[in-house]
């Protein structure tokens, strides 16, 4: 029983971070129909700036710098590269993000050299005991931060034109433009926000509590592990990102114990496969419908 409770606690904590990551995918997908494979490198980049500025600015300052620069990098990628290939399909653009991802990731890994810096200074490795259950501070902060941020976006989507404009332009660039949607604002704001989220997420990822590893190539892979979370929830659904994140966190934790650790990664994908077979656009995603 203890074990079960502890696993659920671990799973929910990780799920919150996965949700943050998934939201990053969802926002960009919503606005552009592009699957951003460079999300992992945004995460790495934010983390790297924390490491690079921590000495001079102190942790808090560095964290702010890291978050902002991940956002900026995302913006830059969008402005300098994606926006210039207006005619490319979302498919090709997704590939473009793979190219960008390879370059940024390799460069940061090179710069990191043999070091593996942990960057969750403010909360990492300071667990709190509640009865028999260990609460990891990183998880707790992540849950709070994720809840706040995700609620904010939820409201922004619902009550502003931002969300509508995003969907409109994802679906039909021409018609959106003719409706007065300022395409570049929508797209760049989506990338900016996704980048900021990546920057926030890395503060929880490159920790002992969350990933067990400092900033490294592995940090990058974790960002991509949030991919099934976004899919399970439905790629264009904010609420889906949250639910998907939590599901991934829980499945991962529970299957480690009740099946096997080696199976956990497959388990996440299996759950995803089952969800997709039952609901082909994820739990909350917009169903594809066409008619003739």
């Amino acid at each position: 029983m203890d074990t079960f409770v502890q696993l659920v606690v671990n799973g929910l904590g990780k799920g919150a971070v996965f949700a943050l990551l998934a939201l990053g995918f969802v926002i960009i997908f919503k606005a552009t129909e592009v699957v951003n494979f460079a999300h992992g490198s945004l995460v790495l980049f934010g983390g790297y700036l924390v490491v690079a500025t921590r000495e001079t600015l102190g942790w808090a300052g560095a964290a702010v710098v890291g978050v902002l620069s991940a956002g900026l990098l995302a913006l830059l990628v969008e402005r300098l590269l994606l926006s210039r290939s207006k005619l490319a399909s979302p498919f090709s653009l997704a590939l473009l993000t793979i190219g960008v991802d390879v370059i940024i990731t390799e460069e940061i890994v090179r710069r990191l050299g043999v070091s593996l810096p942990f960057i969750g200074d403010a909360w990492d490795a300071q667990p709190i005991q509640v009865g028999d259950v260990t609460m990891f501070r990183t998880h707790l902060v992540a849950i709070v931060v994720a809840t706040v941020l995700i609620t904010l976006f939820f409201l922004a989507f619902r009550y502003s034109n931002w969300g509508i404009a995003m969907r409109a332009q994802a679906e039909n660039k021409e018609a959106a433009a003719l409706s007065g949607v300022r395409s570049w604002i929508v797209t760049s704001s989506a990338w900016l926000v996704a980048g900021l989220l990546a920057g926030v997420a890395v503060l929880f990822i490159a920790t002992q509590d969350f990933s067990g590893a400092g900033l490294s190539r592995g940090t990058h892979s974790i960002a991509l592990a949030a991919f099934p979370a976004a899919i399970i929830g439905g790629l264009d659904s904010t609420a889906g990102a949250v639910v998907g994140g939590l599901i991934v966190g829980l499945v991962d934790a529970l299957s480690t114990e009740y099946v096997s650790f080696a199976f956990a990664k497959s388990a996440v994908f299996l759950v995803m496969l089952v969800v997709l077979v039952v609901r082909p656009s994820g739990l909350f995603g917009t169903k594809e419908t066409t008619r003739v």
């Binding site: 679906e171 959106a176 433009a177 409706s179 395409s183």
Partner: protein, 270 residues
Amino acid sequence: MLTVRNLRVRYGRSVSALHGIDLDVPDDGVLAVLGSNGAGKSTLLRAISGTLGLHRGSVVGGEIHYDGKRLDKLDPAAIVRQGIVGVPEGRQIFARMSVAENLRAGGIGARSPTERAAASRRVHELFPVLTDRAGQRAGLLSGGEQQMLAIGRALMSSPRLLLLDEPSLGLAPKIVERISAIIRDIHEQGTAVVLVEQNAVMALGVADHAAVLEVGTLALAAPARELAESEDVQRLYLGGHAESEAEAERQVEAAHEQRAAKRGLSRWSG
């Protein structure tokens, strides 16, 4: 006042679609643009609304001005904010969004919330079916319903100049009549209109000026009434909707002759 001067447009590197078009649309005018398939009507509207880029096309010469402001360097959203709104060919509604959301998207370019509210009221008056179907996925509407939604969406930002690309396409005769009435109505409320149409009867009925495009050049431009009487225009564009029985006969005759010269199709023998 919209002025188009010596407009030249190209698609890709090789296809020249417009080679030197001059047009004026006064603030209180309705201009009908006629022309056969491929004449460049849609291209003209795309050039005005700034969406050529999305079709691999570009303005390679000439200028477009609206109220003294140069348009051909602006992006489509900025052009919408100048009060010029287009309904593209083939409707292009947001198929995965609901009807209500489509209209909301149309209101993004509106200048003020009150204006938006007024526009919304007007749209629902004009097209009650959009109220009934507010929650439906737009892609599932019938063809005609989609057309109404597309026009409604454009009206949501209270345009000063409305560009319509074949609005009667696929609409029932009664609705076509309604659309002409609406266009007249819109016009009376102070919106200028450029109307690209195949249904010349309808177009010339509502327009005060008309232009005829022929493979990328301006063949004719005259007051609508005058054009309606031109023989060429009658033969080419008014035929199917000919007022007189005799006229229709004559056309069928002519078409027959044309066909006779062509190869027929025999049955496939396995």
